[in-house]
Amino acid sequence: MLKLANFTLVIATLGTASTLYNLEHTTRAHERSIAKATAALVDNAEAIKLLNAEWSSLTRPERIQQLAKQHLGMKQIEPDQIITTAELPQRLEAMSIISKPNGKPATIDDILKKMQ
């Protein structure tokens, strides 16, 4: 009886010890990965801020204007270049080059001829 009690207690002690050891071990591993992730998060947040600032600096209207002038040759928009959709001319029936006048589907040969 006593032996049995002793034995179970020893086993229980060993059992709890090893469980706790394992638990602590995995906890530490988790803690390490959390710390790593937090550090990465901080680093990335920092990098995002820096990149946002850089983006803002690179898209300065002054700079874009200069680049557009230099490379695109664009001009200032005139008021009569802005129209509403209602002012657009009625769309014409699509002039299909895919079908012949008689309604039969065109061959590649026909299309090529038409393009010439």
Partner: protein, 563 residues
């Protein structure tokens, strides 16, 4: 012998009891230890006192500042600063040699002197270096050399919005502009941006649109060069919400520069300067007269002779020498007519009206550097008459514009703001300053002045601009100077339902051959405003409506450009 087993039994019984007691003690101890282990490892530990204090001390980061479309105007970035503990350096010469070759702008002699100073345990090698420089020095592997991360406030848009955004000092404390507001009056707003559980903060959003801001700065700087002005300013406001969408004051400054020693004109002249806006103030007088009902659109005033009050004479710049109707007084900018209108309203009523629109008090906005209006101390007939056309009446340009927005917004004045504001919020803040009908009359007059009045050069085809010009003589040594002028223009568009108000001001513009020798507002401030409106109207979603004459005008200007 027979008793022996009894004794033995007794003994063993005693022993057994002891063992049982011991066992029980063991079990109890195990239970305590087990419970303690479970409490410490499995259950959540209580927050320690030190931990809690540390969290409280962790301060809220400074919010970024962004424009109405989310473009970053100010942000904190982390920069490394290199330092050294000279006691730990083994080979001083080698260290100095390596560092000064890696960082070309670090002087070797200076560094040697700094590092060899006796008893120093901490020496800055270079503050705020780039990540590349930091890595390069760190990879040299010199013992006793390290870096710390510091926060630095940067303004990616540079000079563009410098006056509105302001700047901070070395300890990132706001010194000017919105940056100062975030620390002082706006501290509650700043705190509301912070997230409760994490050390991050939402950005503070301004009403500004950087695209529009750029157009204002660009056109204004061109105008300053063209008319050889000493300074200039421009403001664009949303009439319905009171938002300041762009504010330019030139010359400006670079907020990223280390030292900010300002010249006289580099301050924010649109807020911290007071100027006599001249005839622009006539709009206020007209609105007052319409509101009190002393004039109608068909009333007439005799402007044939100068108005004499005591020994002062009030005459007209564009003298017509005839009887003028109210719209004619406005479009010819007649001082005589305006003064007579003010006198008809009455001196006390004039003061009461200026009080009502807030021109007697300092205008307070988020940007802290503001100036109080300069007004005559004692009001008499003469003062009332001259103040009616802006003489002896100096206000911050933003305040002048703000009153005009109220006059044109169906009489509903919304206080100006630099922060983003919704229409709903604006409706709550709005204050009625004049009657609806008076406002409608003013809208009509503004438009009329641009179609056939002093502001005719502001009539950008398609955008229905209206406005009032002003050319004030500057006060030099207490006297009005004849050749130093301040040209200003206040306008709005589209005039049938005013949405945006613009102010352009040029300080001491000179006459050029192109302006036929004139240096009045209609020849410099007004065309500048027109250039600005033509560029920003499409950005602000104002759809052009073209009449036949507008189309002809466009065609003509296109041909002129080609030819």
């Amino acid at each position: 012998m027979a008793e022996l087993p009894v004794i033995q039994r007794n003994r063993s019984l005693k022993g057994q009891n002891r063992i049982r007691l011991l066992g029980l003690a063991y079990v109890v101890m195990f239970c305590i230890i087990g419970a303690q282990l479970v409490r410490l490892t499995v259950l959540k530990p209580e927050e320690g006192e030190a931990n809690r204090i540390a969290r409280e001390v962790e301060r809220i980061p400074r919010p970024d500042i962004v424009d109405r479309n989310g473009v970053v105007l100010a942000t904190d970035i982390s920069v490394a600063s290199l330092f050294s503990d000279p006691r730990k350096i083994i080979d001083m010469e080698e260290a100095v040699e390596l560092i000064s070759t890696t960082l070309p702008d670090v002087n070797a002699a200076d560094l040697r002197k700094k590092l060899s100073a006796p008893g120093r345990a901490f020496v800055w090698i270079k503050r705020q270096v780039s990540p590349e420089e930091r890595d390069a020095v760190y990879n040299l592997g010199i013992p006793g050399v390290g870096y710390v991360n510091e926060r630095k406030r940067v303004y990616p848009q540079g000079r563009l919005a410098a006056h509105t955004v302001g700047y901070v000092d070395v300890d990132t404390k706001g010194i000017a502009g919105i940056e100062k507001y975030l620390d002082n009056e706006g501290a509650i707003y700043t705190a509301s941006l912070a997230e409760p559980s994490r050390p991050i903060s939402a950005p503070a959003q301004l009403a500004m649109d950087v695209q529009v801001q750029h157009v204002l700065v660009d056109e204004l700087s061109k105008a300053i060069v063209k008319f050889k002005a000493i300074a200039g300013g421009a403001i664009l406001m949303d009439i319905r919400t009171g938002e300041v969408i762009a504010l330019a004051s030139l010359p400006d400054f670079d907020p990223n520069a280390e030292s900010k020693n300002f010249g006289q004109h580099q301050q924010n002249q649109m807020l911290s300067g007071v100027y006599e806006l001249g005839s622009v103030i006539k709009a206020v007088t007209f609105a007052m007269a319409f509101d009190y009902g002393t004039v109608t659109m068909t009333s007439r005033y005799d402007a044939r002779f100068p108005l004499v009050i005591g020994n002062a004479r009030i005459s007209d710049f564009h003298a017509q020498r005839r009887v003028l109707t109210v719209p004619e007084i406005f479009t010819n900018s007649s001082n005589i007519g305006t003064a007579k209108m003010a006198l008809d309203v009455g001196i006390e009523q004039h003061q009461e009206f200026l009080q009502r629109v807030g021109l007697l008090d300092r205008l307070l906005t988020e940007v802290p550097e503001t100036a109080k209006p300069l007004l005559p101390k004692r009001w008499g007939r003469l003062v009332s008459a001259t103040a009616s056309f802006g003489h002896g009446f100096a206000v911050q340009p933003l305040q002048g514009l703000s009153v005009v927005t109220g006059i044109l917004n169906d009489g509903n004045m919304v206080p100006p703001t630099f922060m983003r504001r919704s229409k709903e919020e604006a409706d709550v803040l709005g204050k009625r300053i004049i009657k609806f009908s008076a406002s409608k009359n003013m809208q009509e007059l503004f438009r009329l002045n641009a179609t056939n009045g002093t502001a005719s050069k502001a009539d950008v085809p398609g955008y229905r601009v209206g406005g009032k010009t002003g050319t004030a003589e500057k006060v030099v040594n207490g006297r009005y100077s004849k050749d130093k002028r301040l040209a200003s223009f206040i306008g709005a568009f589209p005039m049938e339902e005013p949405h945006y108000a613009i102010l352009v001001m040029l300080d001491e513009p000179k006459a050029t051959p192109e302006t036929y020798g004139f240096a009045t507002s209609g020849w410099n401030a007004v065309p500048t405003a027109a250039n600005i409106i033509a560029r920003i109207a499409p950005l602000l979603d104002v759809a052009p409506v073209l009449t036949d004459s507008d189309k002809a005008k466009l065609e003509k200007s296109r041909k002129a450009k080609k030819g």
